[in-house]
Symmetry: C2
């Protein structure tokens, strides 16, 4: 066994936060823009987002939800109205107050005092209120229900401390907003969206998640129920990866979303909203990344296979390029995961080995190197990102395959990779969930400062509310813990509440979280 | 011949502007949002935009351009810098000055005076400067060139008078930004993008366009050359439907975009930018719409075929729905224009005739009605949107076809529709271009107030610059005319300049414009 020289300088176990930043930079996913809290998403990062969008959008459309586009600006008055209905109204937002710049006479520009807006506009932090206004216009009768809308958009929430993909002032997301005649219909939609998120996370992103209901204190302001999918990162922390809210008639009251029922009576609609964001990319990094960089699940990899010819800036290059292009054409006829393969022939200038490591750090699922000798033998050298190293000799684990053989197997290799990434994450998560703890002292020990990656613990509770819940939240906060969710389909409670000693009614996950 | 009762209340020839608004509302494309200058794009309008995006994005990616995402906010300082380099700097922008709302003590909210930004942020009107900053970071050597980026985004330009799709404060677009080592490379990219726009407009949107160079006075501020595609609306006015700019080294100077050449010297990059926007949808309406509503070219129709079962809220409905669903499944196996058919089975509540007219107004290319009698005969009633009326009897021109026969022909029908829409627009445009006018008096008569749809005139000019051009522009302005462009591949000049009497050097189009 030889020592492996990994492609990153920071190892996960040495400094997980620094490792995360290094992956983003080494995989060329995104960078600071110089604009407070806003990032530039670079081609490889944006390509992953485009894949997530495509797969999620297919699921959204298959459910009969229609995409729309709503204004980026929301009049201040909408928030006043919402603030009345919603406790815990968030106030950190970007506020537009002027519509013109003029010269300040000193070589600079300033907002023109003559062009002050009568009513300031807020850059949307979410579109509940403006979509609520539209729903109030669009819905007259029970025949107009359900109304199922979604938009893909940028939103802005002013953040003081930002971390790329996880918490940025501007981020990209989709927000579904639906209106229904009854509580039952709205709850069914809330669960449909939740299940859609679970399936997309697990099948497309290879992220094992736990779907469940958030406790009262973690609900979206104005929601009656908030559900989430929660994923475990490699440092054992939880990431809320998507949420689905049943809003009751609260937003319908605020915006006047009413319908005439079959008997001619006026009723308030029951509404839902649900969203996922570019935050998912942070989750993919922290679940699938390793000490050599990112590993992108094939379903969302912009390029699944990268072919690197070993060019010498010599006349022989032409034949080698032709050989590689033939391989590319063979691969383009193959499928994996229900889609045609996505293949890049990387013939940019530069040394093949340097390019190989770039693609390793970016996490392309399969890298194929082809030199003149491979060509002469009718072969190619194949490196699978999920089994990068030969642990015997500490070298990259190239497989030398006949070109046609590889083309025939490539689809299967990608499907194997997709499954392998999921399985690895699933096993790690399950191994890092501790069950059966019945006292908060043991919880405190479990999450003591010296313990590195304590993971999640599942405990039983009596679901206290109000002041009793506040006490629980305080107690957890002292341990830097939060309640993640009450898992759907979890085992029934059979013991005492870890907080109150009363009979428990359900099981919950406690964890540190992003 | 019987009188046809058209589906819209306003006819194009009676009031084109009112007709345009009626189409937007009758086809359910978009509506006013209540937020100044911003529109809500509704499902059918947004679905058309998604189709345009998909087809354009495929063309963009095929050219090796990579999508990124850049911040929505641009620091004020970037505009100061740009204002120095760019005359005619546009100043109407949305300016963010605060990052928090607080209660005003009177039940309302106000921007928190404590949360004033040190440097105001501008909501991007275009991203030249922020992408220029990124290019300056990303480009070091000639090996990094060309750098080919694009983003799909929302942008904001404060507009005093707005018109849906044509001029709104917020709109959606793509903006390509590229950097090159040489003038020649940048010019080649400028032309590649222009040709991509021409092809997408003509092949996908069925919009005949004239690609050409804008005159000096119509250049994008800071551009060395601005090229456009221009389409003729049914009122004879021109719509600039896309632009491609060669920016020389102006933006490279402003942002410091430099590269080391092969000899080790530092050089400024030559940059380009190019964009199309939701304005294209305005063009589609004004080129393809008729007195019955919109007609959507099949390549960009969200649903190409809509099947309407004549339901009676009775037990027999089940068999009819099954018959229609079988048709849908047959159609989904067919292709047109290189893609699988997009088919909707519209089983929403409501009378079939009302639904038919909704889809006529929306402009679905083919509408299929199926009643119990059709089912018994194994038939369907097919209505093609491009040949809606039987002019003999003034009734909808249904064709009764065997279900299987129709399924087998549907792809061809759609391809015929695509071509028919293009041909009709092309013939109308060509018939409304007047050539051979050699005096401005004749031009003035041609565009006199009583003349309804004067179209475009092609004249010859000596390409004056500076003050001489200003005079020409003034003269045209008095006639409400603008120079549209100098067509690529236009016939050579062979006469005198219509403005100066000097020898002409090229031909230009004069028109009224949106
Ligand atoms: Zn209320
Ligand atoms: Zn300069």
């Amino acid at each position: 066994m030889s020592a492996i020289r990994h492609a990153l300088t920071t190892k996960r176990e040495d400094d997980f936060a620094a490792w995360y930043q290094e992956v983003i930079s080494a995989a060329d996913l995104a960078e600071e823009s110089g604009v407070r809290g806003c990032m530039v998403i670079k081609p490889w990062g944006y390509g992953i987002w485009e894949r997530i969008q495509r797969l999620m959008d297919d699921r959204i459309k298959a459910a009969g939800v229609q995409n729309c586009y709503f204004p980026i600006f929301i009049p201040l008055g909408n928030f006043t109205r919402e603030a009345e209905h919603v406790e815990g109204f968030a106030k950190e937002m970007a506020v537009v107050t002027h519509h013109r710049l003029i010269a300040d006479g000193k070589g600079g520009l300033i907002p023109d005092p003559e062009a002050r807006l009568e009513e300031p506009l807020v850059v949307r932090p979410t579109s509940e209120t403006i979509i609520g206004d539209a729903m109030a216009r669009w819905i007259q009768s029970w025949r107009d229900l359900p109304l199922l809308t979604n938009q893909w958009a940028n939103v802005v929430r002013w953040e003081m401390r930002t971390r790329m993909f996880l918490r940025t002032s501007e981020f990209l997301w989709q927000e579904g907003h639906t209106a229904h005649a009854t509580r039952e219909d709205a709850l069914a939609e809330t669960h449909r969206a939740l299940e859609m998120y679970r399936a997309c996370a697990e099948e497309d992103l290879a992220l094992p998640v736990i779907a469940g209901e958030k406790p009262e204190n973690e609900r979206f302001p104005g929601a009656v129920e908030t559900w989430s999918i929660e994923a475990m990162m490699q440092d054992g922390k939880a990431l809320q990866a998507g949420t689905s809210h049943y809003l009751g008639t609260n937003f319908a009251h605020a915006a006047g979303i009413q319908y005439q029922d079959k008997e001619g009576g006026q009723q308030y609609c029951h509404t839902t909203s649900w969203g996922v964001s570019t935050r998912l990319i942070g989750g993919i990094i922290m679940v699938h990344g390793d000490d050599d960089g990112l590993r992108v699940p094939p379903a969302i990899a912009p390029h699944q296979i990268v072919i690197i010819p070993m060019l010498r800036e010599a006349p022989e290059d032409a034949a080698l390029l032709a050989y590689c292009d033939e391989l590319k054409q063979m691969l383009l006829r193959e499928t994996a995961l229900g889609e045609k393969l996505r293949v890049l022939l990387d013939s940019t200038p530069g040394k093949a080995a340097a390019k190989r490591w770039d693609w390793v750090r970016k996490g392309a699922p399969i890298i194929v190197e082809v030199g003149p000798r491979d060509m002469a033998d009718g072969k190619v050298a194949v490196l699978q990102r999920v089994s990068l190293w030969n642990v015997e000799n500490g070298k990259p684990a190239f497989q030398f395959l006949g070109r046609e053989d590889f083309a025939g197997q490539a689809g299967q290799m990608l499907e194997y990779t997709q499954q392998a990434l999921y399985n690895e994450a699933r096993e790690r998560r399950d191994a890092n969930i501790t069950r059966g703890i019945t006292s908060m002292d043991v919880v405190a020990d479990h999450f003591a400062d010296g313990v590195k990656y304590p993971g999640w613990v599942e405990v039983q509770w009596s679901k206290p509310t109000g002041a009793a819940l506040d006490k629980v939240v305080e107690q957890l906060k002292a341990l830097k813990l939060t309640i993640r969710n009450v898992p759907l389909g979890g085992a029934p409670a059979d013991g005492a509440c870890i907080f109150t000693g009363d009979a428990a009614v359900e099981r919950i996950f406690l964890a540190r979280a992003y």
